[in-house]
């Protein structure tokens, strides 16, 4: 407790805690369900809710990990998350900073150009043609470069950069600092929270991205995990018409849930490490000094 904070009343504190706790239950519950189903034996699963598996079984995970290319997919996606996010951040930070600077003739036009990209997405066909011209088809880089900057993330980061006190930048300018110095020594250290947030957004997007892979990737060894696993889950949601549904048996619900767990676990593991960057304790201040 800091000196200036009054102590909340008992009722206030506990009302807050209880209601948040209830909220937490509502949020966690589906995940508990998913976990429970994924560890169930196929015959115990019906379409109703289970919280604890009746006959715990690793059959679903066994199937996914041994009968599909899941492990390979995880390798590919790990690469995408590490290298991809690095490139994402590099490109986004530089452009966001550039657009946050004042008195740059033409920056408003560029900003509008970026805004427009939020409103209209290129068609699949033309995206494919461009990537093909760059000879990136069926290359891992086709999953990184076309998505190098997410316009939304760029605009949000720019907004955060613009929130940094002007005085700091101006005094650095007076000292003769170059743009790079300002970025590196002033903007970035003060933006830990927003950088962490944007990096998280990018990393999660890289991990979950399958759409680009559908279009650009042909070789099975380059398929990211999201695509491999989506194939499994997707099957159950294909048209019910006889001709199509007669082509295969959809996998058991347990397998589909195991897929969801496998896709989500890495993110859950990484998130706590990033969390400390965008929350702050009661005592820490935001400006150094």
């Amino acid at each position: 407790m800091v000196s200036w904070m009054e102590r909340s009343s008992f009722i206030e504190r506990w009302t807050l805690r209880v209601s948040m706790g209830l909220l937490a239950v509502v949020m966690i519950f589906p995940f508990v369900y998913v976990l429970a189903v994924s560890f169930s034996s196929p015959q115990d699963v019906s379409n109703s809710l289970v919280v604890l598996p009746v006959h715990p079984s690793l059959a679903a995970y066994n199937w996914v990990l041994s009968q599909t290319n899941a492990l390979q997919g995880i390798e590919v996606s790990t690469f995408l998350v590490i290298v991809g996010t690095a490139i994402n951040m590099l490109m986004t930070v530089t452009m966001a900073y550039g657009l946050s600077r004042s008195d740059v003739p033409g920056s408003k036009i560029i900003l509008w150009l970026v805004l427009l990209t939020l409103l209209i997405a290129p068609t699949i066909i033309t995206k494919y043609l461009v990537v093909r011209q760059l000879h990136l088809i069926d290359s891992i880089w086709s999953l990184i470069f076309p998505g190098a900057i997410a316009p939304f993330n760029l605009i949000v980061l720019r907004q955060f950069f613009m929130g940094i006190p002007r005085e700091l930048i101006e005094s650095a300018e007076l000292d003769g600092a170059s743009e790079f110095r300002i970025l590196w020594n002033i903007i970035l250290p003060l933006s830990k929270a927003s950088l962490a947030v944007i990096a998280l957004f990018y990393a999660v997007a890289q991990w979950n991205n399958f759409f680009d892979a559908v279009l650009f990737i042909n070789s099975p060894q380059l398929e990211p995990i999201a695509l491999v696993l989506r194939d499994i889950v997707l099957q159950g949601n294909v048209s019910q018409n006889n001709i199509v549904s007669g082509e295969y048996m959809p996998p058991s619900l347990t397998v589909q849930m195991a897929v969801v767990v496998i896709t989500t676990i890495p993110i859950l593991v990484v998130y706590p490490f990033l969390q400390k960057y965008f929350t702050k304790g009661v005592l820490t201040g935001s400006i150094k000094g």
Partner: protein
């Protein structure tokens, strides 16, 4: 009420301006003497270098492919390509406007968007404020980690789970039957379609959106709270005068962007829910374009709608930004 900026010793009157402290004030024209354009460009030459990779990226991967939207004016066939497909001028646009379903679809989209802006948008903010006010570090961290979980589940699973709770053979229905009532089905009742869609979005995304708002709250100078408390401001007044203003920039930005995108309500969720309802209930612009445009091979139609959406969205962003500025907020640009 004045506060002291710890760093520079400058005093700053909290009530002086609307804008939260530390805001960059746009340069007034004519203020520092008119500089020549070429001088200004030279002064900021390194900024252009920093902007270069991004600009190249957008040109290459967004604007070049956007040329493909020329197919909006063609009877486009992938095999014939852009050069070989016949030119039909505004015919695709005429098809869009003459189809009776178009207006139904626009209405549905706007209604759902409105619900999301009114309910789902503030939900993240409120949740972030609640989280911020939570006593106890550990509990706070724990809550944060749980709230974002639904974001990762993917619509397929979420809708399947909601079906099992609220559907005709669902948990809720059996509960009601057990209490002596009749079966309840919220998932195929058209009256509940829009509320359920909104609730699902709130449930899935509120926790995730708190991340951004919490990051904004992190950026608020603690000394402002101190000063406000010293001046006798209680919790609610501190919230109103310190916390919210500190988040204002991000909130306004997100609101403007959301308004600009009012014609998009998320394809996958609606697509998965679509089959249980009639067109006048559940079809939105994106699903409409998917079935009439892409699945039917009417690429020109799909491109025409995309162009229309972009133009309308741009106009909306422009208006929203203007409005924000009129209210004394700082807009997007």
């Amino acid at each position: 009420m004045t506060t002291v900026n710890v760093l520079s010793g400058q005093t700053h009157d909290m009530h002086e301006t609307h804008a939260p402290p530390g805001r960059i004030q746009p340069e007034q024209p004519g203020k520092a003497g008119k500089r020549r354009l070429s001088q200004r460009i030279w002064r900021r030459r390194w900024v252009y270098l920093l902007l270069l990779p991004g600009v190249v990226y957008f040109l290459l991967f967004y604007y070049l492919p956007l040329l493909g939207n020329i197919s909006a004016f063609q009877d486009y066939s992938p095999y014939l390509g852009f050069l070989g497909s016949p030119w039909i001028g505004l015919a695709n646009f005429r098809t869009v406007f003459s189809d009776p379903d178009t207006w139904i679809v626009i209405r549905n989209t706007l209604e759902i968007s409105l619900l999301q802006i009114v309910f789902a948008f503030p939900a993240g903010i409120i949740l972030a404020l609640l989280l911020n006010a939570l006593p106890g570090q550990k509990f706070k961290r724990f809550m944060q980690s749980t709230l974002y979980l639904p974001h990762f589940l993917g619509w397929v699973i979420i809708i399947s789970i909601w079906q099992q709770i609220f559907g005709g053979d669902g948990f809720l229905s059996h509960l009601v039957i057990g209490l002596g009532g009749k079966p309840v089905d919220l998932m195929s009742n058209p009256a509940f379609f829009q509320p359920m869609v909104t609730l699902q979005v709130m449930w899935k995304e509120s926790g995730w959106s708190t991340i951004m708002f919490l990051a904004a709250i992190t950026g608020i100078d603690m000394s402002l709270y101190e000063a406000a408390a010293v001046d006798g401001a209680g919790k609610m007044r501190r919230l109103w005068h310190v916390t919210l203003p500190g988040m204002r920039s991000i909130i306004i930005l997100l609101l403007i962007l959301r308004l600009g995108n009012v014609l998009s309500v998320g394809f996958e969720q609606i697509f998965l829910l679509r089959s249980g309802f009639t067109t006048d209930v559940a079809e939105v612009i994106d699903t409409f374009v998917y079935s009439r445009g892409i699945l039917s091979g009417q690429w020109g139609f799909a491109a025409a709608v995309a162009l229309l959406k972009a133009v309308i969205g741009a106009i909306l962003i422009f208006i929203a930004n203007r409005a924000a500025k009129k209210f004394g907020e700082e807009g997007l640009y």
